[in-house]
Amino acid sequence: MATEDRFAPLPAPIWKTSRSTPRWLRTLTRLYTQPASAFGTTVFLFFIIIALIGPFIAPYGATEQIRADARQVPSAAHFFGTDRLGRDIFSRVIIGSRDILELAGLGTLLAVLAGTLFGLASGYKGGLFDEILFRLFDSLLAMPALLLALLLLGTIGPSRNSILAVIVVVYTPIVGRVVRSVVLGVKPKGFIEAAQVQGETTFHILFREILPSVFPALAVEAALRFSYAIFLVASLGFLGVGIQPPSPDWGLMVNEARNYVSLTPWALYFPAAAISLLVIGVNLMADGLKRALQVDI
C-alpha cells in the first residue's frame, strides 16, 4: 500500500509550486489534486470557519426555547426547523460544531502529544521499559474504543474534562505505536549513530534528529485520529454519557430527537448529516494528506 502510492505517477499540481513555497502550502495544493481529498479538505475548512464565526451568524441562541415555534417544519424563519422544545436546529448545529471540533481537536492534540512522547522515548530507549509500556498499550488497543470509553466514563462520570481524558486514553496507544515503529526504522540509520558519537543530548537526538522523520506519518495519523475522535464524541453524546443537555452536542441532539422522529424528523436528520459530513470529510482529507506527505519525503 505505502510502496504503491510512493511510486504512482503524480498528477499535475493545480498550482505551480517550487522549493521556496512554504511546505504547508505545497501540501495543501497536493491535497487538492485529487477530487476526494479536495472535497474532504473543503468540508473540513468549511466547518472550521463555521465553528469560528458560528455564534455570530446563528439567528437564535443554542438553548433558546420558543414555545410558540415548537415542532416546526424547515422554513425561512427556521432553516432547519425547530425541535420539540422550540429550539432552532440550524443555530444548534452551527454552535454545536464549535463544541465538537474543540473537544475532538483538543483531545486529539493531547493524544498525539502523549503518543509522540511515549513513542519516541520507548522506541529510542528500548529494553524492558519499551516492552512493558507497549504490552500495556496493546491491551488497551485490544478493547473496542467505545467500550473503553464507556468503562472510563462510568468510573469518572460524564463531563467535558472526562471526555478529553477518554479521548487521550483511547487514542494515545495507536499514535504511540505509529511513532515507535518509525523510530525503530530510523534508529539504526547512520546519522543517529553519528549524533550519539558526537555526544548530543538525548533530547536533541529525539527532537531534532528523529522527530522530523516521524512527522509525516504522525500528521496523517493525527488527521485520522481526529476524524475518529469526532465520531467518538458524537457517539458518546448519543449514548447520553457525553456532554449533558441542553448543550447543542450533535450526538445528544440525535439521541433526543430519536423518540420524536415521526413528529420532527428534521431534528434528527440535520445533526446526523452534519456528523457524517464532517467525519467523512476529515477522513478523506487524512487520506489525501497521506499521499501528499509521502511524496514530500
Binding site: 438553548t63 426555547q65 420539540r84 441542553p246 433526543e256 423518540n259
Partner: protein, 593 residues
C-alpha cells in the same frame, strides 16, 4: 299411608315457609330508607336487613344509585365509613341479589360474547428482573404477577375495591377486624385447591419483619391473620385504617401457595394464565387457565409477554404487527400512533407525577425563601404543555391529584409565576448573585425534557442549574437520589393519596427525599390516615394541600397520563393508571361483525 305422606309433605311446606317468614327481613317491597344510628356499620345493617353480613355491597350500591338521582342521599365513597344521620337506601331482596351479582365481578356480560377463549395476545414490556412477588415492582413484573396469580381484591379504574379471590368481606364496627370469604373452586396451577391457609401464609410472609420486605412497613398495623374457616380469613388491626382494603391490594400482595419454596421461579398461582415457557430477557409464554374460578375469563387462549430493552422498539414492533399491545411509551410516540391505521390508542389520567425537590435540611434549601423562590420561578402550565404535550393534568405542588375527587382542592390559590420576585427573595435569603446547583435527573420518561425546560425558566430568576442526566440504575441505585440536593423523581400512580404522604413527606418517612420535617404536618397526615370520620379526613387533606402549596418542599408540575396502544384485532382493553395492573382477562379478539 299415602295420606300420611301427603300430610307430612304439606307440613314440611308450611314449616319451611314459616321459617322463611321468621327470618324474613323487615323490609317492604321495593326497598326502604334508613337513617344511620350510632354504632351502625354497613355489615351490621346487612345482617339486620338481609340476615347476612356479607351482603353489605347491596346497601352501598343501592344508596349510590339512589344518590345519583336524589340529592337527599349522599354518595358513599368509602363503604367502611358511614356517618350518624346519613340516609341509606336498603334495596329489596331481588334488587339486592342483582346488585351483589354485579359487584362480584360481573362475569355475565363478558361470557355473553364469545364462548371459549381464543387467539393469542402479544404484549410488549420492559425486561423484568425480579419475579418474586415480595420484591417485584416494575410494570412488567407486576403484569406477570397479575396474570399468573390473583389478589384478594382489585381496584377498578374508578378507584373502587372489587372482589377477586375474596368474594365477600365484612368489617367490624370498631374498624379493627376484617373477615373475608374466599372464592370456592379456586385452584392453583398444580391442581391443589386454594384454602385460607394459603392467604394466611402469604400475608405472614409479607409482614414478617425478619425478611425485611418492602411490605413489612405497610402491614405492620396488622396484628393477626388467621384462618377462621376453610375459606374464611380474618385480619385484626392495631389501629383503624380507612384504606386497609387498598393496602391489601398492594402490588406485592398476590396469594401464593403455602410453603412455596422459591416464588421467583415456581409460578404456581391461581391466576387466569399459566406459565408455559419463560426465557429471561426474551419472552414469557402463557396459556389460559381452563380451571380459572371466574367464569368467562380470560378472553384469549394464549398470552405472550415479549420483552424489549427500548420503548421505541416496542412501538415499532406494534406498527409492524409483531406485538398487539404496548402500554409503556414516550408521549411523542403515542401522538404519532394516534393517526395510525389499525391501531387504537388509549390514554387515562393517573395520580402519578414527577416532582422536583431541594433538600430542606441543609444549605441552600434550609432557608424556606430559597424554595419559595424556586416555586415562583416555575411555570407549571408551560411545563405541562411542552413536556407532557397537554396529556395528563397540571400539578399544584401536592401529591393529591385531581383524580382523588373527594380530596383534591383548589381552595388555596397557586401564586403567579414571577421571576423578578424570585430573584428578590433569593437576594433576601443571602444569595444576591443567584444560585448554582447540580440537578440530577433519571433518563426515563419525560424527566430529561422537564430538566431542560426548568433550567431555562429558572435562569430568568438567577438560578443557574447544571443538568446531570443519569441512567435510572445510577439515580436510584444505593439510594443516591435521597442524598443529592436537587433532583427530579418520578412517582408511579397509587390509588390513595395517603401512600405518598406516609412514605415521602412525614419526618421519618422511608423515602423522604426532601428531608422535610414539620410536626404540624405530620399530625395532619396521621389524622387523615387513621380517622374513620370522612369529614375530618377531607379537612385534613385540604389543610395539607394548603401547607404544601405555601411552604412545602416539592414542586409538582404535572400528573402524567398512562398511555396505551392496541391492535384493532383485539377489543376490551381497560387500561389502568398503573399499567402492570391492567386486567388482561377483559381483552378478547375482535369479532369481525
Amino acid at each position: 299411608m299415602r295420606k300420611i305422606v301427603i300430610a307430612l309433605v304439606l307440613l314440611l311446606f308450611v314449616l319451611s315457609s314459616g321459617l322463611v317468614n321468621a327470618a324474613a327481613p323487615l323490609q317492604q317491597e321495593g326497598g326502604q330508607e334508613y337513617t344511620v344510628q350510632a354504632d351502625d356499620w354497613l355489615s351490621k345493617l346487612a345482617d339486620k336487613f338481609y340476615g347476612d353480613v356479607f351482603n353489605w355491597p347491596a346497601i352501598w350500591l343501592g344508596t349510590n344509585q339512589k344518590a345519583a338521582a336524589d340529592s337527599s342521599f349522599a354518595m358513599i365513597s368509602n363503604p367502611d365509613i358511614v356517618e350518624v344521620g346519613q340516609k341509606l337506601w336498603i334495596p329489596d331482596a331481588e334488587e339486592a341479589a342483582a346488585l351483589l351479582a354485579e359487584y362480584s365481578g360481573g362475569a355475565a356480560p363478558a361470557a355473553a360474547t364469545g364462548g371459549a377463549p381464543s387467539g393469542t395476545l402479544r404484549v410488549a414490556w420492559d425486561i423484568p428482573v425480579q419475579l418474586d412477588p415480595a420484591f417485584a415492582s416494575s410494570d412488567s413484573e407486576i403484569a406477570i404477577l397479575n396474570a399468573v396469580y390473583d389478589y384478594l381484591v382489585d381496584i377498578d379504574p374508578g378507584n373502587n375495591i372489587r372482589p377477586r379471590l375474596a368474594t365477600r368481606w365484612a368489617v367490624s364496627g370498631d374498624g379493627l377486624t376484617y373477615t373475608f370469604t374466599l372464592a370456592s373452586g379456586a385452584t392453583f396451577h398444580d391442581g391443589s385447591p386454594l384454602t385460607a391457609n394459603d392467604v394466611v401464609w402469604t400475608f405472614n410472609r409479607l409482614r414478617d419483619p425478619a425478611l425485611e420486605l418492602p411490605t413489612a412497613d405497610l402491614y405492620q398495623n396488622i396484628t393477626n391473620v388467621e384462618a377462621t374457616g376453610d375459606l374464611e380469613v380474618t385480619f385484626t388491626l392495631a389501629e383503624t385504617n380507612p384504606f386497609f382494603l387498598f393496602d391489601l391490594s398492594d402490588n406485592h400482595a398476590v396469594i401464593l401457595q403455602a410453603d412455596t419454596a422459591d416464588p421467583a421461579t415456581e409460578f404456581n398461582g391461581t391466576g387466569p394464565f399459566r406459565v408455559v415457557n419463560y426465557t429471561p430477557e426474551d419472552r414469557m409464554q402463557l396459556q389460559a387457565n381452563e380451571n380459572y374460578f371466574m367464569p368467562g375469563k380470560p378472553g384469549v387462549a394464549e398470552l405472550e409477554f415479549i420483552f424489549f430493552s427500548d420503548q421505541a422498539a416496542s412501538v415499532d414492533a406494534l406498527r409492524g404487527g409483531q406485538v398487539d399491545l404496548v402500554m409503556r411509551m414516550p408521549t411523542p410516540l403515542f401522538l404519532a400512533l394516534e393517526n395510525e391505521a389499525g391501531i387504537n390508542t388509549v390514554s387515562v389520567p393517573t395520580n402519578g407525577f414527577d416532582l422536583i425537590r431541594l433538600r430542606s435540611d441543609r444549605e441552600p434549601g434550609n432557608d424556606p425563601r430559597v424554595i419559595q423562590a424556586m416555586k415562583l420561578a416555575t411555570d407549571r402550565q408551560a411545563i405541562f404543555e411542552t413536556v407532557t404535550l397537554g396529556l395528563g393534568a397540571v400539578g399544584r405542588d401536592s401529591p393529591i391529584g385531581p383524580l382523588f375527587t373527594a380530596y383534591y382542592s383548589e381552595a388555596t390559590a397557586m401564586p403567579q409565576r414571577d421571576p423578578a420576585a424570585a430573584q428578590a427573595l433569593l437576594a433576601e435569603a443571602g444569595y444576591p448573585d443567584g444560585l448554582q446547583l447540580d440537578l440530577h435527573v433519571p433518563d426515563s420518561g419525560d424527566r430529561p425534557d422537564l430538566a431542560v425546560v426548568l433550567k431555562e425558566q429558572w435562569a430568568e430568576a438567577g438560578i443557574d442549574v447544571n443538568v446531570i442526566v443519569e441512567p435510572e440504575s445510577v439515580y436510584y441505585g444505593d439510594n443516591g437520589w435521597l442524598e443529592v440536593d436537587l433532583g427530579i423523581t418520578g412517582w408511579g400512580s397509587r390509588p390513595i393519596p395517603q401512600f405518598y404522604l406516609d412514605v415521602m413527606l412525614v419526618c421519618d418517612a422511608e423515602w423522604n427525599e426532601s428531608h422535610y420535617c414539620n410536626p404540624e404536618f405530620d399530625q395532619l397526615v396521621q389524622t387523615a390516615g387513621t380517622t374513620l370520620n370522612e369529614q375530618e379526613r377531607v379537612q385534613a387533606y385540604n389543610e395539607i394541600q394548603r401547607i404544601l402549596i405555601e411552604e412545602g418542599p416539592v414542586i409538582i408540575p404535572y400528573f402524567f397520563p398512562q398511555l396505551g396502544a392496541i391492535s384493532e384485532n383485539f377489543t376490551g382493553l381497560e387500561l389502568k393508571a398503573f399499567a402492570g395492573r391492567t386486567d388482561l382477562t377483559t381483552i378478547r379478539p375482535a369479532q369481525s361483525q
